[in-house]
């Protein structure tokens, strides 16, 4: 794992795969994936797949039991060490964009025997995977390191030109 510390970072690493081209085949992983699902707050981010490919020797770090050297987590391995790989390598084929929609919640609850009831949504999957790894590896992990915020984003965070005028660090609080 230590070897990953010597990763070289080239530009902004993208996080969001929504608009990603399908890369369902093992042979041809995409060089990069551009993600624009949060375009209401940020400009589109480009995930450099090649770069990440170069810093790890095991695809299963991200792709569970689709590719790579077998599942890492013990509890997944119980079933998936021997199982077929997943049908798709594309995150969004399993991690849905709207995990908390009525339809999805009902669908998950409809089958009482379903095992994977606690699957994160797409945005959660990216961040939990990307951010947590970045933070653990000492890689850039501020929001702005990956996301270039748009004007609407600044407005949302009341930041940049929308920062509160003369805001005191301590609001009224009693």
């Amino acid at each position: 794992m230590k070897s990953r510390k010597i990763w070289v970072w080239r530009g902004i690493v993208a996080l969001f795969f929504i608009a990603a081209p399908a890369f369902g085949t093992v042979d041809e992983p995409p060089a990069s994936v551009s993600i624009g699902s949060l375009s209401h707050l940020y400009s589109e981010v480009v995930f450099d797949h090649d770069l990440h490919l170069s810093v790890t020797d095991d695809c299963s770090v991200c792709h569970h039991h689709r590719f790579g050297k077998g599942v890492k987590e013990e509890r997944c391995a119980r079933c998936h060490s021997e199982s077929q790989g997943t049908f798709s390598a594309r995150c969004s084929d399993c991690h849905v964009e709207k995990p908390f929609s009525v339809e999805h919640i009902m669908m998950m609850e409809a089958d009482p025997k379903r095992y994977h009831i606690d699957m994160t949504g797409l945005k959660g999957a990216y961040h939990l995977k990307c951010y947590n790894c970045h933070a653990a590896m000492g890689a850039p992990s501020e929001c702005g390191d990956c996301h270039a915020r748009s004007d609407a984003g600044d407005r949302f965070y009341h930041s940049g030109i929308y920062a509160p005028a003369g805001g005191s660090p301590t609001g009224k609080h009693e």
Partner: protein, 313 residues
């Protein structure tokens, strides 16, 4: 005061009865509440503290969703985590300008720092609701505890009662002061089948939205399948009778600002020993004291002492 004629007696009873009726209603509905176990389809949110990174996006989303006043500092300014109040005894809390805030805890702990988002927990049997004498609160079937400013008198009993110290009050308004608290985005989202704004905005999916029943299972499953990762407790599963918002943590809950001394049954229960005597007092007192009166009139006045002390036994 001499004779007590039938007519006088009846007149008295009516006067006493008027107030008795009100008290009866009060006691009766308190008992009707006894078996209430929360709505079966109540929604909830599971907050996983191990996922939260303190980005404050939820605060920003809530502010936007509800058109709340401009914050004192931008929502991406993390210096707010260093703010303390009352000689360092308190971190940030919900105010009349913020339905939710995130605080940083356990900086020194191995797994720290840990961030904790606070907002109304939407209790199954809310103390704010049951203590309100004008019924300003409502627990919707979706699980939200919502407040109606149009009947609120402003006694602030709910603020006293809320075990989590959530409701704030717009003290500065002379004409329209009201309680201000998270409403689970009920009006704008929940009732239309959409998740709350903060849940939708959270990048880390630290907030998981779903049926409360399911979330309880999910929470226990996360604890079970990640041995050693979590404290073996789902905060809010039973606290004060259960809350719709529940929490998982990797550090002991009391180190992240949770009150771990709360009772595990509804706050309302505490009033039951008193409400239990209400019907008795209403039923027994009139006959008993009229009896005393008749006895006393029967010439038994040798007891010269004030009987005041006896009325408390």
């Amino acid at each position: 005061m001499s004779g007590i004629s039938r007519r006088k007696f009846l007149k008295s009873t009516v006067i006493a009865g008027g107030s008795a009726a009100a008290a009866m209603t009060s006691a009766k509905s308190a008992f009707a509440m006894k078996e209430f176990q929360g709505y079966p389809d109540s929604m909830g949110v599971l907050v996983d503290l191990t996922r939260c990174i303190g980005c404050r996006t939820c605060e920003a989303a809530c502010n936007k969703e509800h058109n709340l006043p401009e914050p004192a500092l931008p929502f991406d300014n993390l210096s707010v985590f260093d703010e303390t109040f009352h000689e360092g005894k308190q971190k940030r809390r919900t105010t009349d300008k913020a339905y939710t805030v995130v605080n940083r805890y356990a900086e020194q702990e191995p797994g720290g720092p840990v961030y904790r988002k606070i907002q109304c927990n939407h209790c199954s049997e809310p103390a704010c609701l049951t203590s309100c004498f004008v019924n300003a609160y409502k627990k919707t079937k979706e699980g939200a505890v919502v407040y109606n400013p149009n009947v609120c008198v402003g006694c602030r009993m709910c603020m006293v009662a809320c075990p989590f110290g959530i409701p704030a009050y717009s003290y500065d308004s002379a004409l329209h002061p009201e309680i201000i608290k998270c409403n689970f985005c009920y009006d704008t989202r929940l009732k239309n089948g959409k998740p709350p704004a903060c849940v939708e905005a959270c990048p880390q999916e630290a907030l998981t939205f779903g049926h409360r029943k399911t979330l309880v299972k999910t929470a226990h499953e996360r604890i079970r399948s990640n041995p050693g990762k979590y404290v073996d407790h789902v905060y809010g599963e039973t606290e004060v009778g259960g809350t719709s918002w529940m929490y998982l943590s990797s550090v002991p809950f009391e180190q992240v600002g949770f009150n771990t001394t709360l009772q595990h049954h509804p706050i309302l229960d505490n009033t039951k020993s008193f409400l239990g005597i209400v019907p008795m007092v209403l039923g027994i007192w009139p006959a008993m004291f009229l009896g005393f009166h008749l006895l006393a009139k029967g010439g038994k006045t040798e007891n010269k002492e004030s009987n005041a002390g006896e009325s408390c036994k």
